[in-house]
Protein backbone atom coordinates (compact mmCIF):
# COMPACT_ATOMS: atom_id res chain seq x y z
CA UNK A 1 0.00 0.00 0.00
CA UNK A 2 2.74 2.43 1.03
CA UNK A 3 4.71 1.56 -2.09
CA UNK A 4 1.67 2.24 -4.23
CA UNK A 5 1.26 5.66 -2.62
CA UNK A 6 4.89 6.56 -3.19
CA UNK A 7 4.68 5.48 -6.82
CA UNK A 8 1.53 7.55 -7.26
CA UNK A 9 3.10 10.60 -5.63
CA UNK A 10 6.20 10.38 -7.81
CA UNK A 11 3.92 10.05 -10.80
CA UNK A 12 2.03 13.19 -9.87
CA UNK A 13 5.21 15.18 -9.29
CA UNK A 14 6.62 13.97 -12.59
CA UNK A 15 3.43 14.86 -14.44
CA UNK A 16 3.38 18.36 -13.02
CA UNK A 17 7.01 18.87 -14.04
CA UNK A 18 6.11 17.82 -17.54
CA UNK A 19 3.28 20.32 -17.59
CA UNK A 20 5.53 23.14 -16.50
CA UNK A 21 8.06 22.28 -19.18
CA UNK A 22 5.45 22.26 -21.86
CA UNK A 23 4.21 25.69 -20.85
CA UNK A 24 7.59 27.33 -21.05
CA UNK A 25 8.22 25.67 -24.39
CA UNK A 26 4.96 27.12 -25.64
CA UNK A 27 5.65 30.66 -24.60
CA UNK A 28 9.01 30.77 -26.28
CA UNK A 29 7.32 29.91 -29.57
CA UNK A 30 4.87 32.26 -31.27
CA UNK A 31 1.89 30.78 -29.46
CA UNK A 32 1.46 33.35 -26.69
CA UNK A 33 -1.83 33.88 -24.95
CA UNK A 34 -2.48 37.27 -23.45
CA UNK A 35 -4.60 37.74 -20.35
CA UNK A 36 -6.17 41.04 -19.32
CA UNK A 37 -8.83 42.19 -16.89
CA UNK A 38 -10.46 45.39 -15.71
CA UNK A 39 -13.12 47.98 -16.49
CA UNK A 40 -16.58 46.96 -17.69
CA UNK A 41 -17.21 50.39 -19.24
CA UNK A 42 -15.13 49.75 -22.42
CA UNK A 43 -15.78 45.99 -22.41
CA UNK A 44 -18.18 45.93 -25.40
CA UNK A 45 -15.42 47.57 -27.46
CA UNK A 46 -12.64 45.29 -26.21
CA UNK A 47 -14.74 42.20 -26.81
CA UNK A 48 -15.27 43.19 -30.44
CA UNK A 49 -11.66 44.09 -31.27
CA UNK A 50 -10.29 41.06 -29.45
CA UNK A 51 -12.51 38.82 -31.55
CA UNK A 52 -11.12 40.48 -34.69
CA UNK A 53 -7.54 40.15 -33.43
CA UNK A 54 -7.93 36.45 -32.72
CA UNK A 55 -9.36 35.94 -36.20
CA UNK A 56 -6.65 38.00 -37.91
CA UNK A 57 -3.49 37.10 -35.99
CA UNK A 58 -4.43 33.85 -34.28
CA UNK A 59 -3.16 35.16 -30.95
CA UNK A 60 -5.49 34.37 -28.08
CA UNK A 61 -6.41 37.36 -25.92
CA UNK A 62 -8.79 37.04 -22.98
CA UNK A 63 -10.45 39.97 -21.21
CA UNK A 64 -12.29 39.73 -17.90
CA UNK A 65 -14.68 42.56 -17.03
CA UNK A 66 -14.09 42.72 -13.28
CA UNK A 67 -14.09 46.48 -12.79
CA UNK A 68 -11.36 49.11 -12.90
CA UNK A 69 -10.16 48.47 -9.36
CA UNK A 70 -10.01 44.76 -10.07
CA UNK A 71 -7.92 45.49 -13.17
CA UNK A 72 -5.42 47.56 -11.18
CA UNK A 73 -5.28 44.90 -8.46
CA UNK A 74 -4.72 42.12 -10.99
CA UNK A 75 -1.82 44.00 -12.54
CA UNK A 76 -0.40 44.70 -9.09
CA UNK A 77 -0.60 40.98 -8.29
CA UNK A 78 0.99 40.30 -11.70
CA UNK A 79 -1.68 37.83 -12.74
CA UNK A 80 -2.51 39.60 -16.02
CA UNK A 81 -0.42 40.97 -18.90
CA UNK A 82 -2.21 44.30 -18.72
CA UNK A 83 -5.07 45.83 -16.77
CA UNK A 84 -7.83 48.21 -17.79
CA UNK A 85 -9.19 51.21 -15.92
CA UNK A 86 -11.47 54.20 -16.53
CA UNK A 87 -9.83 56.26 -13.81
CA UNK A 88 -6.13 56.93 -14.26
CA UNK A 89 -3.88 56.05 -11.34
CA UNK A 90 -2.96 58.95 -9.09
CA UNK A 91 0.72 59.58 -8.34
CA UNK A 92 0.37 57.82 -4.97
CA UNK A 93 -1.35 54.84 -6.55
CA UNK A 94 1.38 54.64 -9.17
CA UNK A 95 4.03 54.74 -6.49
CA UNK A 96 2.27 51.90 -4.68
CA UNK A 97 2.65 49.60 -7.71
CA UNK A 98 5.61 47.19 -7.56
CA UNK A 99 7.34 48.97 -10.46
CA UNK A 100 6.74 51.79 -12.92
CA UNK A 101 3.60 51.51 -15.05
CA UNK A 102 2.39 53.32 -18.16
CA UNK A 103 -1.11 54.32 -19.30
CA UNK A 104 -2.27 53.65 -22.87
CA UNK A 105 -5.56 55.33 -23.84
CA UNK A 106 -7.67 53.08 -26.08
CA UNK A 107 -10.88 54.94 -26.85
CA UNK A 108 -13.27 57.59 -25.56
CA UNK A 109 -16.58 56.90 -23.95
CA UNK A 110 -19.45 58.78 -22.41
CA UNK A 111 -21.28 58.24 -19.17
CA UNK A 112 -24.92 58.91 -19.97
CA UNK A 113 -27.77 59.89 -17.68
CA UNK A 114 -30.39 57.28 -18.52
CA UNK A 115 -33.96 57.35 -17.25
CA UNK A 116 -37.21 55.42 -17.40
CA UNK A 117 -40.30 57.55 -17.95
CA UNK A 118 -42.66 56.01 -20.51
CA UNK A 119 -43.43 58.51 -23.29
CA UNK A 120 -40.80 61.04 -22.24
CA UNK A 121 -37.95 61.58 -24.71
CA UNK A 122 -35.32 64.30 -24.81
CA UNK A 123 -35.22 65.26 -21.15
CA UNK A 124 -32.95 68.30 -20.68
CA UNK A 125 -30.92 68.66 -17.51
CA UNK A 126 -28.80 71.50 -16.18
CA UNK A 127 -26.07 71.45 -13.53
CA UNK A 128 -28.55 72.59 -10.87
CA UNK A 129 -31.03 69.86 -11.78
CA UNK A 130 -28.32 67.17 -11.72
CA UNK A 131 -27.23 68.37 -8.29
CA UNK A 132 -30.82 68.51 -7.02
CA UNK A 133 -31.78 65.08 -8.30
CA UNK A 134 -28.63 63.22 -7.25
CA UNK A 135 -28.39 64.92 -3.85
CA UNK A 136 -32.00 63.95 -3.16
CA UNK A 137 -33.35 67.50 -3.01
CA UNK A 138 -35.62 67.12 -6.02
CA UNK A 139 -37.75 64.05 -5.34
CA UNK A 140 -40.61 64.23 -7.87
CA UNK A 141 -40.50 64.19 -11.64
CA UNK A 142 -43.04 67.00 -11.89
CA UNK A 143 -41.03 69.29 -9.59
CA UNK A 144 -41.36 72.83 -10.88
CA UNK A 145 -37.58 73.08 -11.37
CA UNK A 146 -37.58 70.17 -13.84
CA UNK A 147 -40.77 71.16 -15.65
CA UNK A 148 -39.58 74.77 -16.05
CA UNK A 149 -36.56 73.48 -17.98
CA UNK A 150 -38.55 70.94 -20.02
CA UNK A 151 -41.55 72.76 -21.47
CA UNK A 152 -43.54 70.45 -23.70
CA UNK A 153 -42.62 67.26 -21.86
CA UNK A 154 -45.37 65.56 -19.90
CA UNK A 155 -43.59 64.76 -16.63
CA UNK A 156 -45.57 62.55 -14.23
CA UNK A 157 -46.27 63.00 -10.53
CA UNK A 158 -43.90 60.19 -9.67
CA UNK A 159 -41.06 59.70 -7.21
CA UNK A 160 -37.53 59.87 -8.63
CA UNK A 161 -35.46 56.75 -7.94
CA UNK A 162 -31.74 57.29 -8.40
CA UNK A 163 -29.96 54.09 -9.42
CA UNK A 164 -26.23 54.06 -8.72
CA UNK A 165 -23.51 51.43 -8.68
CA UNK A 166 -23.32 49.17 -5.65
CA UNK A 167 -19.78 48.06 -6.55
CA UNK A 168 -16.72 50.22 -7.03
CA UNK A 169 -16.41 51.46 -10.58
CA UNK A 170 -14.50 53.64 -13.01
CA UNK A 171 -17.86 54.75 -14.42
CA UNK A 172 -18.69 56.11 -10.97
CA UNK A 173 -15.32 57.86 -10.91
CA UNK A 174 -16.00 59.71 -14.18
CA UNK A 175 -19.54 60.58 -13.07
CA UNK A 176 -18.49 61.84 -9.62
CA UNK A 177 -15.54 63.75 -11.13
CA UNK A 178 -18.07 65.65 -13.26
CA UNK A 179 -20.49 66.16 -10.38
CA UNK A 180 -17.67 67.54 -8.21
CA UNK A 181 -16.79 70.02 -10.95
CA UNK A 182 -20.32 71.35 -11.43
CA UNK A 183 -21.56 71.30 -7.83
CA UNK A 184 -19.64 72.53 -4.83
CA UNK A 185 -22.23 70.93 -2.58
CA UNK A 186 -21.50 67.54 -4.18
CA UNK A 187 -17.75 68.12 -3.90
CA UNK A 188 -18.16 68.92 -0.19
CA UNK A 189 -20.56 66.21 0.87
CA UNK A 190 -19.90 63.33 -1.50
CA UNK A 191 -16.67 63.94 -3.40
CA UNK A 192 -15.23 61.81 -6.18
CA UNK A 193 -14.11 58.24 -6.15
CA UNK A 194 -14.76 54.76 -7.44
CA UNK A 195 -17.27 54.08 -4.70
CA UNK A 196 -19.03 56.72 -2.67
CA UNK A 197 -21.34 57.37 0.24
CA UNK A 198 -24.52 58.05 -1.71
CA UNK A 199 -26.97 60.65 -0.40
CA UNK A 200 -29.96 58.79 -1.91
CA UNK A 201 -30.87 55.97 -4.22
CA UNK A 202 -30.55 52.25 -4.70
CA UNK A 203 -27.51 50.32 -5.84
CA UNK A 204 -27.08 47.76 -8.60
CA UNK A 205 -23.99 45.78 -9.57
CA UNK A 206 -22.06 46.62 -12.71
CA UNK A 207 -23.08 48.66 -15.76
CA UNK A 208 -25.40 45.86 -16.94
CA UNK A 209 -27.02 45.76 -13.49
CA UNK A 210 -27.75 49.49 -13.40
CA UNK A 211 -29.08 49.40 -16.98
CA UNK A 212 -31.35 46.46 -16.11
CA UNK A 213 -32.62 48.10 -12.94
CA UNK A 214 -33.40 51.38 -14.73
CA UNK A 215 -35.15 49.51 -17.52
CA UNK A 216 -37.41 47.67 -15.11
CA UNK A 217 -38.10 50.50 -12.63
CA UNK A 218 -40.47 53.27 -13.72
CA UNK A 219 -39.42 56.71 -12.54
CA UNK A 220 -35.75 55.77 -12.20
CA UNK A 221 -32.68 57.70 -13.35
CA UNK A 222 -29.02 56.75 -13.23
CA UNK A 223 -25.62 56.93 -14.91
CA UNK A 224 -24.21 54.20 -17.15
CA UNK A 225 -21.60 53.67 -19.84
CA UNK A 226 -23.23 54.90 -23.06
CA UNK A 227 -23.15 51.58 -24.93
CA UNK A 228 -25.22 49.90 -22.21
CA UNK A 229 -27.98 52.51 -22.61
CA UNK A 230 -27.94 52.48 -26.41
CA UNK A 231 -27.91 48.68 -26.67
CA UNK A 232 -30.95 48.42 -24.42
CA UNK A 233 -32.66 51.45 -26.01
CA UNK A 234 -32.99 53.30 -22.72
CA UNK A 235 -33.61 57.04 -23.29
CA UNK A 236 -30.78 59.36 -22.21
CA UNK A 237 -30.90 62.97 -21.05
CA UNK A 238 -29.39 65.94 -22.90
CA UNK A 239 -26.93 67.77 -20.68
CA UNK A 240 -26.10 71.46 -20.64
CA UNK A 241 -22.34 71.70 -21.16
CA UNK A 242 -19.93 74.35 -19.92
CA UNK A 243 -20.61 76.48 -23.02
CA UNK A 244 -24.34 76.41 -22.26
CA UNK A 245 -25.48 74.11 -25.09
CA UNK A 246 -27.70 71.06 -24.57
CA UNK A 247 -25.74 68.13 -25.92
CA UNK A 248 -26.74 64.58 -26.71
CA UNK A 249 -24.07 61.92 -26.22
CA UNK A 250 -22.81 60.91 -29.67
CA UNK A 251 -19.52 59.95 -31.29
CA UNK A 252 -19.00 63.56 -32.43
CA UNK A 253 -19.86 65.18 -29.10
CA UNK A 254 -17.61 62.72 -27.22
CA UNK A 255 -14.71 63.36 -29.64
CA UNK A 256 -15.21 67.09 -29.20
CA UNK A 257 -14.42 66.71 -25.50
CA UNK A 258 -10.91 65.46 -26.35
CA UNK A 259 -9.81 68.48 -28.40
CA UNK A 260 -7.97 70.23 -25.57
CA UNK A 261 -4.33 69.90 -24.49
CA UNK A 262 -3.07 66.58 -23.24
CA UNK A 263 -0.19 65.72 -20.88
CA UNK A 264 2.54 63.42 -22.20
CA UNK A 265 1.50 60.50 -20.00
CA UNK A 266 -2.14 60.89 -21.21
CA UNK A 267 -3.46 61.04 -17.65
CA UNK A 268 -6.25 63.60 -18.01
CA UNK A 269 -9.95 63.80 -17.16
CA UNK A 270 -12.13 65.21 -19.94
CA UNK A 271 -15.28 65.96 -17.95
CA UNK A 272 -16.95 69.37 -18.20
CA UNK A 273 -14.98 70.28 -21.34
CA UNK A 274 -15.02 73.91 -22.52
CA UNK A 275 -15.62 72.93 -26.15
CA UNK A 276 -19.00 74.26 -27.36
CA UNK A 277 -20.02 70.90 -28.86
CA UNK A 278 -18.58 68.60 -26.21
CA UNK A 279 -20.70 66.14 -24.23
CA UNK A 280 -19.69 66.97 -20.65
CA UNK A 281 -19.35 63.48 -19.10
CA UNK A 282 -16.79 62.03 -21.52
CA UNK A 283 -13.53 60.36 -20.74
CA UNK A 284 -10.64 58.26 -21.92
CA UNK A 285 -10.37 54.68 -20.87
CA UNK A 286 -6.90 53.26 -20.35
CA UNK A 287 -4.93 50.06 -20.38
CA UNK A 288 -2.11 49.88 -17.89
CA UNK A 289 1.05 47.76 -18.03
CA UNK A 290 4.52 47.66 -16.52
CA UNK A 291 7.13 49.78 -18.19
CA UNK A 292 9.67 47.01 -17.94
CA UNK A 293 8.10 43.79 -19.14
CA UNK A 294 10.73 41.43 -17.72
CA UNK A 295 9.04 40.44 -14.46
CA UNK A 296 7.71 37.30 -12.89
CA UNK A 297 9.67 35.15 -15.36
CA UNK A 298 7.74 36.41 -18.38
CA UNK A 299 9.33 35.48 -21.67
CA UNK A 300 10.37 38.05 -24.23
CA UNK A 301 7.85 36.58 -26.68
CA UNK A 302 5.07 37.14 -24.14
CA UNK A 303 6.11 40.77 -23.68
CA UNK A 304 6.37 41.34 -27.41
CA UNK A 305 2.98 39.68 -28.00
CA UNK A 306 1.40 42.00 -25.44
CA UNK A 307 2.93 45.11 -26.98
CA UNK A 308 2.01 44.07 -30.52
CA UNK A 309 -1.60 43.67 -29.46
CA UNK A 310 -1.66 47.10 -27.79
CA UNK A 311 -0.01 48.69 -30.82
CA UNK A 312 -2.70 47.13 -33.01
CA UNK A 313 -5.43 48.30 -30.63
CA UNK A 314 -4.58 51.97 -31.27
CA UNK A 315 -4.08 51.43 -35.03
CA UNK A 316 -6.66 52.73 -37.50
CA UNK A 317 -7.96 49.17 -38.07
CA UNK A 318 -9.04 48.62 -34.49
CA UNK A 319 -10.10 52.23 -33.88
CA UNK A 320 -12.55 52.01 -36.77
CA UNK A 321 -14.55 49.46 -34.75
CA UNK A 322 -15.14 51.86 -31.83
CA UNK A 323 -18.05 53.86 -33.35
CA UNK A 324 -19.95 50.62 -34.04
CA UNK A 325 -20.34 50.17 -30.30
CA UNK A 326 -20.80 53.88 -29.57
CA UNK A 327 -17.29 54.72 -28.42
CA UNK A 328 -15.33 57.52 -30.04
CA UNK A 329 -11.98 56.66 -31.64
CA UNK A 330 -8.87 58.31 -30.20
CA UNK A 331 -7.95 61.70 -31.66
CA UNK A 332 -4.79 61.79 -33.83
CA UNK A 333 -2.80 63.46 -31.06
CA UNK A 334 -3.62 60.77 -28.51
CA UNK A 335 -2.66 57.98 -30.94
CA UNK A 336 0.76 59.58 -31.53
CA UNK A 337 1.32 59.95 -27.81
CA UNK A 338 0.19 56.39 -27.09
CA UNK A 339 2.57 55.08 -29.77
CA UNK A 340 5.45 56.97 -28.21
CA UNK A 341 4.59 55.52 -24.80
CA UNK A 342 4.38 51.97 -26.18
CA UNK A 343 7.81 52.37 -27.77
CA UNK A 344 9.24 53.38 -24.40
CA UNK A 345 8.25 50.02 -22.89
CA UNK A 346 11.25 47.78 -22.44
CA UNK A 347 12.31 44.20 -21.72
CA UNK A 348 15.37 44.22 -19.46
CA UNK A 349 16.13 47.74 -20.62
CA UNK A 350 15.84 46.94 -24.31
CA UNK A 351 13.02 48.57 -26.32
CA UNK A 352 10.74 45.99 -27.93
CA UNK A 353 8.71 47.86 -30.56
CA UNK A 354 10.57 49.69 -33.25
Amino acid sequence: MKKLLVVLLIGVVFASCQNGKQKSADSSSKNVTIAAAGATFPMPYYNMVIKNYIKEKGVLVTYGGIGSGGGIKSLKDKVVDFGATDAYLSDEKMAAMPSEIVHIPTCLGAVVIAYNLPGVEGLKLTDELLEGIFMGEITKWNDSKITANNAGLNLPDQAITFVHRSDGSGTTYIFSDYMSKISSKWADKVGKGKSLQWPVGIGAKGNPGVAGTIKSTEGSIGYIGSEYAFAQKIPVALLKNAAGNYIEPSIESISAAAQGAMPADTRVMLTNSNDANAYPISGFTWLILYKDQAYNGRSKAQALGTLEFLDWLISADAQAVAPKVNYAPLPEKAVTQAKTILRSVTYNGEALLK
Binding site: S166, D167, L196, T217
Partner: protein, 283 residues
Protein backbone atom coordinates in the same frame (compact mmCIF):
# COMPACT_ATOMS: atom_id res chain seq x y z
CA UNK B 1 -2.35 -2.95 5.97
CA UNK B 2 -5.77 -4.24 6.88
CA UNK B 3 -8.84 -2.67 5.38
CA UNK B 4 -9.90 -1.70 8.87
CA UNK B 5 -6.78 0.38 9.44
CA UNK B 6 -7.13 2.01 6.04
CA UNK B 7 -10.72 2.99 6.82
CA UNK B 8 -9.58 4.43 10.11
CA UNK B 9 -6.93 6.59 8.43
CA UNK B 10 -9.33 7.77 5.72
CA UNK B 11 -11.89 8.79 8.34
CA UNK B 12 -9.27 10.50 10.45
CA UNK B 13 -7.90 12.33 7.43
CA UNK B 14 -11.26 13.74 6.32
CA UNK B 15 -12.18 14.83 9.84
CA UNK B 16 -8.82 16.49 10.18
CA UNK B 17 -9.41 18.39 6.93
CA UNK B 18 -12.65 19.83 8.36
CA UNK B 19 -10.78 21.01 11.42
CA UNK B 20 -8.01 22.48 9.29
CA UNK B 21 -10.38 24.33 6.97
CA UNK B 22 -12.56 25.88 9.68
CA UNK B 23 -9.53 26.75 11.79
CA UNK B 24 -7.76 28.30 8.81
CA UNK B 25 -10.87 30.27 7.93
CA UNK B 26 -11.18 31.78 11.39
CA UNK B 27 -7.45 32.48 11.49
CA UNK B 28 -7.36 34.35 8.16
CA UNK B 29 -10.62 36.22 8.85
CA UNK B 30 -9.27 37.35 12.22
CA UNK B 31 -5.88 38.31 10.83
CA UNK B 32 -7.23 40.37 7.95
CA UNK B 33 -9.92 42.04 10.07
CA UNK B 34 -7.39 43.40 12.57
CA UNK B 35 -6.52 46.69 10.74
CA UNK B 36 -10.10 47.95 10.67
CA UNK B 37 -10.69 47.09 14.34
CA UNK B 38 -7.40 48.77 15.25
CA UNK B 39 -8.47 51.93 13.47
CA UNK B 40 -12.13 52.13 14.49
CA UNK B 41 -12.42 49.83 17.51
CA UNK B 42 -15.99 49.07 18.53
CA UNK B 43 -17.14 51.96 16.40
CA UNK B 44 -16.86 49.55 13.48
CA UNK B 45 -19.85 47.68 14.86
CA UNK B 46 -21.84 50.62 16.27
CA UNK B 47 -21.26 53.27 13.59
CA UNK B 48 -23.68 53.75 10.69
CA UNK B 49 -21.18 55.60 8.55
CA UNK B 50 -19.95 53.64 5.52
CA UNK B 51 -17.86 55.92 3.37
CA UNK B 52 -15.35 54.30 1.01
CA UNK B 53 -14.38 57.56 -0.76
CA UNK B 54 -10.63 58.04 -0.76
CA UNK B 55 -9.52 60.55 1.85
CA UNK B 56 -12.82 60.31 3.74
CA UNK B 57 -12.70 56.63 4.60
CA UNK B 58 -14.85 55.60 7.53
CA UNK B 59 -16.35 52.20 8.04
CA UNK B 60 -19.29 51.23 10.22
CA UNK B 61 -21.06 47.91 9.78
CA UNK B 62 -24.27 48.62 11.69
CA UNK B 63 -26.48 49.26 8.61
CA UNK B 64 -25.53 45.85 7.22
CA UNK B 65 -25.97 44.03 10.52
CA UNK B 66 -29.43 45.55 10.91
CA UNK B 67 -30.23 44.77 7.27
CA UNK B 68 -29.20 41.12 7.57
CA UNK B 69 -31.00 40.56 10.85
CA UNK B 70 -34.20 42.37 9.85
CA UNK B 71 -34.60 40.56 6.52
CA UNK B 72 -33.78 37.18 8.08
CA UNK B 73 -36.09 37.63 11.07
CA UNK B 74 -38.89 38.82 8.77
CA UNK B 75 -38.30 35.73 6.63
CA UNK B 76 -38.38 33.49 9.69
CA UNK B 77 -41.65 35.07 10.92
CA UNK B 78 -43.31 34.46 7.55
CA UNK B 79 -41.77 31.02 7.30
CA UNK B 80 -42.85 29.76 10.75
CA UNK B 81 -46.63 29.39 10.23
CA UNK B 82 -46.30 28.44 6.55
CA UNK B 83 -43.69 25.75 6.99
CA UNK B 84 -45.28 24.40 10.14
CA UNK B 85 -48.72 23.97 8.64
CA UNK B 86 -47.38 22.56 5.39
CA UNK B 87 -45.30 20.00 7.21
CA UNK B 88 -48.30 18.95 9.34
CA UNK B 89 -50.33 18.66 6.16
CA UNK B 90 -47.76 16.42 4.51
CA UNK B 91 -46.73 14.32 7.46
CA UNK B 92 -49.90 14.03 9.52
CA UNK B 93 -53.21 15.27 8.17
CA UNK B 94 -53.07 13.93 4.63
CA UNK B 95 -50.32 11.42 5.08
CA UNK B 96 -50.00 8.98 2.20
CA UNK B 97 -52.56 10.76 -0.01
CA UNK B 98 -51.55 11.43 -3.61
CA UNK B 99 -51.97 15.17 -3.08
CA UNK B 100 -49.59 15.29 -0.15
CA UNK B 101 -46.95 13.32 -2.03
CA UNK B 102 -47.20 15.85 -4.86
CA UNK B 103 -46.81 18.69 -2.35
CA UNK B 104 -43.90 16.96 -0.68
CA UNK B 105 -42.01 16.46 -3.94
CA UNK B 106 -42.69 20.06 -4.92
CA UNK B 107 -41.23 21.16 -1.58
CA UNK B 108 -38.10 19.12 -2.23
CA UNK B 109 -37.86 20.58 -5.71
CA UNK B 110 -38.15 24.14 -4.40
CA UNK B 111 -35.49 23.45 -1.78
CA UNK B 112 -33.06 22.60 -4.58
CA UNK B 113 -33.67 25.65 -6.80
CA UNK B 114 -30.53 27.85 -6.95
CA UNK B 115 -30.87 31.21 -5.23
CA UNK B 116 -30.18 33.21 -8.39
CA UNK B 117 -33.41 31.80 -9.85
CA UNK B 118 -35.33 33.06 -6.82
CA UNK B 119 -33.57 36.40 -7.28
CA UNK B 120 -34.60 36.68 -10.92
CA UNK B 121 -38.16 35.69 -10.15
CA UNK B 122 -38.23 38.19 -7.29
CA UNK B 123 -36.82 40.96 -9.50
CA UNK B 124 -39.08 40.45 -12.51
CA UNK B 125 -42.27 39.08 -10.91
CA UNK B 126 -42.51 39.61 -7.17
CA UNK B 127 -41.22 43.20 -7.16
CA UNK B 128 -43.60 44.47 -9.89
CA UNK B 129 -46.41 42.66 -8.03
CA UNK B 130 -45.60 44.58 -4.83
CA UNK B 131 -45.53 47.81 -6.86
CA UNK B 132 -48.92 47.02 -8.41
CA UNK B 133 -50.37 46.33 -4.97
CA UNK B 134 -49.36 49.89 -4.13
CA UNK B 135 -47.28 48.81 -1.12
CA UNK B 136 -44.20 50.68 -2.34
CA UNK B 137 -43.52 52.76 -5.48
CA UNK B 138 -40.33 50.89 -6.45
CA UNK B 139 -40.62 47.61 -4.64
CA UNK B 140 -37.00 47.40 -3.43
CA UNK B 141 -36.25 47.01 0.25
CA UNK B 142 -36.47 45.01 3.44
CA UNK B 143 -40.00 43.71 2.87
CA UNK B 144 -39.40 42.33 -0.64
CA UNK B 145 -36.08 40.76 0.39
CA UNK B 146 -37.63 39.26 3.53
CA UNK B 147 -40.46 37.83 1.44
CA UNK B 148 -38.15 36.25 -1.12
CA UNK B 149 -36.00 34.84 1.70
CA UNK B 150 -39.13 33.39 3.32
CA UNK B 151 -40.10 31.73 0.05
CA UNK B 152 -36.56 30.31 -0.18
CA UNK B 153 -36.43 28.91 3.34
CA UNK B 154 -40.00 27.57 3.64
CA UNK B 155 -39.15 24.44 1.59
CA UNK B 156 -36.08 23.84 3.80
CA UNK B 157 -37.97 24.07 7.05
CA UNK B 158 -40.97 22.17 5.66
CA UNK B 159 -38.97 19.31 4.28
CA UNK B 160 -37.01 18.77 7.50
CA UNK B 161 -39.95 19.25 9.90
CA UNK B 162 -42.21 16.88 7.99
CA UNK B 163 -39.54 14.16 8.20
CA UNK B 164 -39.38 14.67 11.92
CA UNK B 165 -43.16 14.80 12.41
CA UNK B 166 -43.47 11.56 10.46
CA UNK B 167 -40.99 9.96 12.85
CA UNK B 168 -43.25 10.31 15.91
CA UNK B 169 -44.19 6.69 16.76
CA UNK B 170 -47.62 5.66 15.56
CA UNK B 171 -48.27 3.77 18.79
CA UNK B 172 -48.25 7.03 20.75
CA UNK B 173 -50.74 8.70 18.42
CA UNK B 174 -53.00 5.65 18.35
CA UNK B 175 -52.99 5.51 22.13
CA UNK B 176 -54.08 9.15 22.27
CA UNK B 177 -56.85 8.56 19.73
CA UNK B 178 -57.97 5.53 21.74
CA UNK B 179 -58.34 7.80 24.76
CA UNK B 180 -60.71 9.95 22.74
CA UNK B 181 -58.34 12.79 21.79
CA UNK B 182 -59.24 14.96 18.79
CA UNK B 183 -56.74 15.50 15.96
CA UNK B 184 -55.84 18.92 17.35
CA UNK B 185 -55.19 17.45 20.74
CA UNK B 186 -52.99 14.74 19.24
CA UNK B 187 -50.97 17.37 17.37
CA UNK B 188 -50.44 19.63 20.34
CA UNK B 189 -50.09 17.00 23.06
CA UNK B 190 -48.37 14.11 21.33
CA UNK B 191 -46.69 15.14 18.09
CA UNK B 192 -45.36 18.53 19.11
CA UNK B 193 -43.70 17.43 22.35
CA UNK B 194 -42.11 14.51 20.54
CA UNK B 195 -40.90 16.43 17.52
CA UNK B 196 -40.25 19.81 19.14
CA UNK B 197 -36.48 19.80 19.22
CA UNK B 198 -36.26 18.52 15.64
CA UNK B 199 -38.68 21.15 14.37
CA UNK B 200 -36.73 23.91 16.09
CA UNK B 201 -33.51 22.58 14.62
CA UNK B 202 -35.06 22.73 11.15
CA UNK B 203 -36.05 26.38 11.66
CA UNK B 204 -32.57 27.24 12.89
CA UNK B 205 -31.08 25.70 9.76
CA UNK B 206 -33.54 27.69 7.66
CA UNK B 207 -32.67 30.88 9.55
CA UNK B 208 -28.99 30.21 8.95
CA UNK B 209 -29.62 29.97 5.25
CA UNK B 210 -31.50 33.29 5.31
CA UNK B 211 -28.61 34.99 7.14
CA UNK B 212 -26.05 34.03 4.54
CA UNK B 213 -28.16 34.41 1.40
CA UNK B 214 -26.50 36.77 -1.05
CA UNK B 215 -27.73 36.87 -4.64
CA UNK B 216 -31.49 37.02 -4.18
CA UNK B 217 -31.13 39.67 -1.47
CA UNK B 218 -28.71 41.86 -3.39
CA UNK B 219 -31.11 41.98 -6.33
CA UNK B 220 -34.02 43.17 -4.20
CA UNK B 221 -32.80 45.02 -1.12
CA UNK B 222 -31.78 48.21 -2.94
CA UNK B 223 -28.12 48.16 -1.82
CA UNK B 224 -28.38 51.48 -0.02
CA UNK B 225 -25.86 51.58 2.83
CA UNK B 226 -28.25 53.01 5.40
CA UNK B 227 -30.12 51.71 8.43
CA UNK B 228 -33.57 50.77 7.16
CA UNK B 229 -36.19 53.16 8.53
CA UNK B 230 -39.19 50.90 8.03
CA UNK B 231 -40.54 47.75 6.46
CA UNK B 232 -40.45 49.21 2.94
CA UNK B 233 -37.20 51.11 3.32
CA UNK B 234 -34.15 50.12 1.28
CA UNK B 235 -31.06 48.82 3.02
CA UNK B 236 -28.21 46.39 2.51
CA UNK B 237 -27.17 43.10 4.01
CA UNK B 238 -23.77 41.84 5.15
CA UNK B 239 -23.40 39.15 2.51
CA UNK B 240 -24.62 41.53 -0.17
CA UNK B 241 -22.17 44.34 0.63
CA UNK B 242 -19.26 41.87 0.57
CA UNK B 243 -20.33 40.44 -2.78
CA UNK B 244 -20.82 43.92 -4.24
CA UNK B 245 -17.67 45.63 -3.09
CA UNK B 246 -14.83 43.14 -2.72
CA UNK B 247 -13.85 43.36 -6.39
CA UNK B 248 -12.55 46.91 -6.08
CA UNK B 249 -11.50 46.78 -2.47
CA UNK B 250 -7.99 47.04 -1.09
CA UNK B 251 -6.33 48.26 2.08
CA UNK B 252 -8.66 49.39 4.82
CA UNK B 253 -11.81 48.73 2.79
CA UNK B 254 -10.77 45.12 2.17
CA UNK B 255 -10.15 44.74 5.89
CA UNK B 256 -13.60 46.22 6.62
CA UNK B 257 -15.27 43.74 4.25
CA UNK B 258 -13.39 40.84 5.79
CA UNK B 259 -14.40 42.06 9.24
CA UNK B 260 -18.04 42.01 8.09
CA UNK B 261 -17.44 38.43 6.98
CA UNK B 262 -16.09 37.67 10.44
CA UNK B 263 -19.16 39.25 12.07
CA UNK B 264 -21.43 37.18 9.84
CA UNK B 265 -19.48 34.10 10.89
CA UNK B 266 -19.91 35.05 14.55
CA UNK B 267 -23.64 35.79 14.18
CA UNK B 268 -24.23 32.46 12.47
CA UNK B 269 -22.24 30.75 15.19
CA UNK B 270 -24.26 32.44 17.94
CA UNK B 271 -27.55 31.49 16.25
CA UNK B 272 -26.44 27.87 16.05
CA UNK B 273 -25.28 27.89 19.66
CA UNK B 274 -28.55 29.40 20.91
CA UNK B 275 -30.44 26.85 18.82
CA UNK B 276 -28.50 23.97 20.32
CA UNK B 277 -29.10 25.38 23.78
CA UNK B 278 -32.87 25.58 23.22
CA UNK B 279 -32.96 22.04 21.85
CA UNK B 280 -31.07 20.77 24.87
CA UNK B 281 -33.44 22.57 27.26
CA UNK B 282 -36.49 21.15 25.50
CA UNK B 283 -35.47 17.54 25.14
Amino acid sequence: MKSDTITKYVLLFSSFIILLVSGGMIFSLLGDAVPVFEKFGWRFITSTDWNPTEGRESYGALPFIVGTLSTSILALLICLPMAFSTSLFIAEYFKKSAFSSIISSMVDLLAGVPSIVYGLWGFYTLRPFIVSLGLDPQGYGIFTSGLILAIMIIPYATSLSSEIIAMVPNELKEAAYALGATRMEVIFNVILPGARSGIIASFILAFGRALGETMAVTMLIGNANIIPTGLFSTGNSMASVIANQFGEADGLKMSALIAIGLLLFVITGVVNFVGKFIIKKLS
